[in-house]
């Protein structure tokens, strides 16, 4: 399976009379974008804004972040099951608007939505202080239930991102990256002496606003299965997630999965990248047992020498992580885990809720409990009053002078467990 990603470098997004891309600037007609959002009758109103790197702007509570893409050649369209019909993606050519993102905010859905600061201390921790962000501030109609509101906001972002992606359909990319995934037989023939390495991608699926979708299917209703790595780049995995902001995977990070990127980069050099296994993190013990059994079974069947396992969220998913680790290691397949830590504000507590001797190779995305002081910024897009109630904040987090004292947890993607963030530890 071969996918070419055509990167179009975006340096600015501006509102204008006509939606178009000129050079490295994306121009958007505000009314057109609003019309797309308001097609959904559960949405009462939407405000648009643009937040640029270095501006004194804070966005909160952040729900999802999406990177606009468009399928130029090959089957299907981006975000299959949502803005395009279900059809296998991952082959052909896809254009990417690199350097911009679509961010959704609005009245709070859950209590685990994040903060993106475009400048200052907070900007150091979130990857989305480096993107030019089109922000959709969405207000639901009266009486809409939380889960319906989450769905409306999620769909609005996917539809707007798809529409913006369409503007890039006929643009010649600045840079082309080629990703070629060998079949199992090809891989064995081409690289008989390289270690066979897989990736177990854990998807948050606890329900109650903690969900991830694969080709439109709710991951908590799935069994562990395989996905082609290039499908992920075409938006086959979508976040519907209000887990703690620091370590949920926004759709943007799925689209840019850094573990998949690196495994492709090493493929044929230091290792043979065999494939990606996706598994869930459900709330019933039987589901956890079954899904991790299945991960181990697939790793063995594929004849892997090693796997990288990335987690999403924390707490009881630590058990899914450790079950995957233990059972896969028991099949003779080495594991490296990517997680983050909740080691207390002083870093002295046990980092994960579960542990095992088999988990002897772990990469951390950082300690989410570390307290940060974020200065007052000139402009807030969204609703600042929720800072006291989102996970990582407390009553009084929002200081009288407009600054924020809270745990790192509140910052979107600060301790990302696919390694997309900026923190690590040795």
């Amino acid at each position: 399976m071969k996918l070419e990603l055509g990167l179009i470098h975006v340096t600015d997004v501006q509102f204008g009379p006509e939606s178009k891309i000129e050079g490295s600037v994306v121009y958007l007609n505000e009314e057109e974008i609003k019309k797309i959002v308001l097609e959904d009758e559960t949405i009462k109103s939407v405000k648009l804004d643009i937040a640029r790197p270095g501006e004194s702007v804070r966005i909160t509570p952040v729900k999802d972040v999406v990177e606009p893409r468009v399928k130029v050649e090959g089957r299907g369209g981006v975000f299959p099951g949502w803005t395009h019909k279900v059809d296998t993606v991952g082959e052909g050519k896809t254009n990417v608007l690199k350097g911009m993102a679509v961010v959704t905010t609005g009245k709070i859905v859950g209590f685990q939505e994040g903060v993106i600061d475009m400048v200052g201390e907070g900007a150091k921790y979130t990857p989305f202080s480096k993107t030019v962000n089109l922000v959709l501030d969405i207000e639901p109609v009266e009486g809409l239930k939380q889960h319906e509101y989450e769905k409306a906001v999620r769909l609005a972002n996917l539809k707007v991102s798809t529409a913006i992606g369409e503007l890039a359909r006929n643009i010649t990319p600045d840079e082309v990256k080629v990703y070629e995934h060998d079949t199992i037989m090809e891989g064995i023939k081409k690289y008989p002496d390289l270690p066979r390495v897989g990736y177990v991608l854990m998807l948050q699926s606890q329900g109650l606003l903690h969900d991830t979708y694969v080709y439109g299917v709710d991951a908590k209703q799935t069994l562990t299965t395989m996905i082609m790595p290039t499908e992920i780049f075409d938006g086959a995995i979508v976040s519907g997630n209000c887990v703690s902001a620091c370590d949920k995977n926004p759709t943007y990070i799925h689209e840019n999965n850094p573990v998949v990127e690196e495994l492709f980069a090493q493929h044929g050099k230091t290792l043979n990248f065999v494939g990606v296994i996706i598994t869930n993190e459900n709330v019933y013990l039987a589901d956890k047992m079954r899904s991790s059994d299945w991960s181990a079974k697939l790793c063995k069947y594929l004849g892997l020498d090693g796997v990288i396992i990335s987690q999403e969220g924390f707490g009881n998913p630590d058990t899914d992580l450790i079950m995957n680790c233990k059972k896969i290691e028991a099949e003779g397949v080495k594991t490296v885990l990517i997680t983050d830590e909740y080691a207390g504000q002083d870093g002295a507590s046990q980092s994960l809720a579960d542990a095992d001797v088999a988990a002897d190779a772990v990469v951390t995305g950082g300690n989410a409990n570390v307290v940060v002081h974020l200065p007052k910024l000139d402009k807030v897009i969204g609703h600042i009053e929720y800072v006291d109630t989102i996970a990582g904040g407390w009553s009084g987090s929002l200081q009288p002078d407009g600054s924020i004292i809270a745990e790192l947890q509140v910052i979107t993607s600060s301790t990302n467990e696919q390694g997309f963030g900026k923190l690590s530890a040795r």
């Binding site: 606890q206 329900g207 709330v283 019933y284 013990l285 956890k288 009881n316 058990t319 579960d354």
Partner: protein
Amino acid sequence: MCTVTPISLTVGANRIVPTIAIPHPLGNPALDHDEEKKLRRRLVEKALKALQTPIDDQTIFE
């Protein structure tokens, strides 16, 4: 009483009674009121029995 019994074992609990699910350990919203009441009573009785059972090691009362 806990849904994720592997964590109970990791943190060193002695008597462990498995429960329903993480968001609703001692109940089940899929059941009607009477059935759920029975389920809750069964779980509490099991826990009381566990407390009275002598053990030598960490024990899960299935």
